[in-house]
Amino acid sequence: MAEITLVEAINQALDYEMGKDENVVVLGEDIAKNGGVFRATVGLLEKYGKDRVRDTPLAESMIAGLAIGMATQGLRPVAEFQFMGFIYPALDQIINHASRLRNRTRGRITCPLVFRTPYGAGIHAPEHHSESTEAIFAHTPGLRVVIPSSPKRAYGLMLAAIRNNDPVVFLEPSRLYRFAKQEVPNDGKALPLDKCFTLKVGTDITLVSFGAMLKETLSAAKKLEAEGISCEVIDVATIKPLDMETILASVEKTGRLVIIHEAAKTCGIGAEISAEIAERGLMFLQAPVQRITGYDTIVPYSKLEKIYIPSEQKIIDTVLNTMEFA
């Protein structure tokens, strides 16, 4: 079995599910003939035809609206937005309609669709191409927000997202698209959409992250291990609904928590996790909860990008400081 990248795993999942369920359709700008800006949908047009693989006009609100219409009529659309920075024209459709159709119709009409978009900084692109505004969607009732951090999880979570009856915002860390390869069996097995993944078991401190930041988090954990600090690393993966049980159980064990994400600090997912720990896990804490995040600013152009994205060193320093609390 060949090892594949994260973007190839997305493609593999789309291919698998389109082959299995004829109601699955994909749409978006340049996704058919061109195969998508990152080639996530490459080959699908040839295999499933133009009825199920559709290029759309450059109109994000329309893409979302079209997908919602399809979803309410029995299809399972997967719509791509080229970059997260282009999703905002579609917010009205996503927040006012997709997220609340089930509630509005008292459960009669669900909205089984996936909004895919590459997100996050680190690919030397201008603004709009480096966004990580996942908290907007996590804050919206009725949406599920999923962020894979490895080819395997990209595959399993994408399958789960397509099969789920709720609208899912599926954020793909573009920095990880081709960063590494992994063996991903094309077995059609979905992963749970409401669970964290414990990537590394540890006893001294819990590091919680998601998306591309797991790269720095895992390498920091490895270096800290060499210094005798045992880190438990948790990939949140689904930031809404948030699997606090796993995080709480880990903090109960370690008594220390550092949350790492690329998005701006204010009202980020880190704030939510930190608040949950304050409400439900305070009695386990041996040190204050720390957040390592991007800054409350627009992601800078590529030269400053490295300064914006939390570094491995920053994670190491914060963990060492947190361990100072006896």
Partner: protein, 370 residues
Amino acid sequence: MKIFNLPDLGEGLAEAEIREWFVKVGDTVKEDQPLLSMETAKAVVDVPSPYSGEIKKLYGQNGDTIQTHAPLIEFVSQDAPLKKDKGTVVGNLEESETILDEGDVIVGVPQKTSTTIKAMPAVRMLAKQLDVDLTLVQGSGAGGQITAKDVKEYVQGSSSTSTGEALKGVRHAMAKAMADSHKEVVPITLSDDADITNFPADADFTAHLIQAIAKAAEIEPAINVSFNGKKLERQFNSNTNLGLAVDTKEGLLVPVIKDIANKSKEELRTEINHLKNGAKDRSLKPEELQGATFTLSNFGVFAGKYATLVVVPPQVAILGCGKIREVAKVHEGSVKVRKIAPLSLSCDHRAVTGGEATRFLAAVIQHLES
């Protein structure tokens, strides 16, 4: 042979016109170096070289229109592979052939553990202040949480189930004074022997020792001071008032003999007897228990040789005398049976130097041996 076909320069553009070549046949170009400027229906764009190499042929001249995906340039074949199609018209994706080894990924909770201590941060702080190991404390709060009350009760030895005897009166005061001293004083102890072979067996050794202390305090007055640990001040005492440690059933009592320098052996003996009796029948007046500037502990009445003694502030020193005994000792060049008094001097090193302590002890010994 390696041919570079014209890529799609926009979003689905069919063709583009050559405006200007920046390179010519025979040039060696580097990857990403601009090759030519082309005009499309949308804009004028520079086309970068997909790889490094030598140019063999150009397909077209300025003004020619080239169809998308038609040949543009031929390179002299090199080993360098064609730049892989990574999609994206914006930015650059980090790419590697690294195989991701995640080991065992666990969905959700790795394992259930409940040996953890459940306590609020304020309770943890309290436990730290009281030096309580929370693993030893049983939590009585919700869900087994350790409360501040649990910690306090643990410190008190959980009074409700205790069968111990609460300290009272003299013993309580002793416990407190000793603990306070331990918290504050920086103690040092030195020990030596006084050879008292020549001292008459029937004479009053205690009175003799007290006079030796009085004499030594004159020689080394730094041992007879009152020390204020908060202000770090010492006050020299004009009189030497000697606290005499007396063991009683109720606990340790330290009555005081005032101004020992101006008292004869007989006067001292009378006062010692009076204070000892007073301590036993608890008839001492408060003033007889106050004002000591130095303490003597004659612990050797029963047993013991040397000891580390507890200095009680504001005093800075205490002398202990162990059990007087005969020992085999080198005396004037040969081993003889000699009678010695083992002495221990404990000082508060915050106020007394090692030199002052040794000079004082030497003076005591000299007086005892003379």
